[in-house]
Point group: C2
Chain length 151, copies 2
DNA sequence: TTTAAATAGGACTAAATTAGTCTTACTTTG
DNA sequence: CAAAGTAAGACTAATTTAGTCCTATTTAAA
């Protein structure tokens, strides 16, 4: 039930990209976010394949955020594959079976899955970044607290 | 974001124990639920430590379900430790910091965590087993579908 | 009172997943 | 054409999960 580093890095990268205005190179982004560069590259490539991020090659190239409507859920799905908390009872969950505890447990987990999806689909990166803006403003006010409060 | 086998087995064991009337030995339970015996033993010991299950030693001993009010959440917590989807921003999540994406991301994950807890705390084993009873009744009606529908 | 059926618990191993690296190739702008 | 970038796949290392093994202790029944 822990989120993977991949997903965690990916979320942070997305948030960071979304507030940048031009393309940002993987190297630059890795520095900004303190993420291992090669690993971040892989992550960005996955996000590109699902259209969350766009890339331009060559000098002055880099990654841009492509879809402000993308939700946290979309990002997690892109990076870790479909969230599958339960092992499938053969497709038709309503049928009776020989191991009732198995089916019941799957029902619970399926409900959980739906709940998680609902929660995360409601949070878009755009929304996150509104919060971010406010956050940054507050930050400028209390500059002296910065470093130790987030590590 | 996958549930562990430990948790999955544990849930099934709990459901199964809760519908039994006497104590059930680990061996017997392992057979009923198709769970590796030694592994199940470990799981049951964890569940015992958190009071979800009780044990009696010796011949005719075994495990009994101890707390019908226990929720799915309680069981998962017992088995996999506290669900910690985010890496802590030093305790005070509202303070500004040098890596805003870090804090924002943690906020999201913390909200997710709360949502998961809410969902799972609402499901007690007692409730699950009411469903189970209905389920078993239905099962007796359509006996021929049993085996292949749940594997 | 012995014996068989249980739990208790710790140490260990194997398998799988996750995290991260390395290498090589390709693309684009200056 | 050179520098700064992405693209992609193979590889390795570290961590976690799953599962096993062994030894001790408890208890009811024969």
């Amino acid at each position: 039930m822990k989120i993977s580093k991949r997903a965690y890095y990916g979320l942070r990268a997305a948030v960071s990209l979304a507030e940048a205005d031009g393309p940002v190179s993987a190297r630059e982004l890795a520095e900004r976010e303190h993420i291992p560069e090669d690993f971040l590259e892989k992550i960005l490539q996955k996000l590109r394949k699902t259209g969350i991020v766009e890339s331009t090659k060559g000098v002055e190239g880099g990654y841009t955020f492509a879809n402000k409507a993308a939700s946290v859920w979309d990002i997690l799905k892109s990076l870790d594959g479909p969230v599958r908390t339960f092992s499938s009872p053969g497709g038709k969950g309503t049928l009776p079976c020989d191991f009732p505890s198995h089916c019941r447990t799957n029902d619970v987990l399926r409900r959980l899955e739906i709940e998680i999806e609902k929660t995360l689909s409601g949070m878009t990166i755009g929304h996150l970044n509104e919060q971010l803006t406010t956050h940054n403003k507050q930050r400028e006010d209390k500059d002296e607290n910065r470093i130790k409060s987030c590590e």
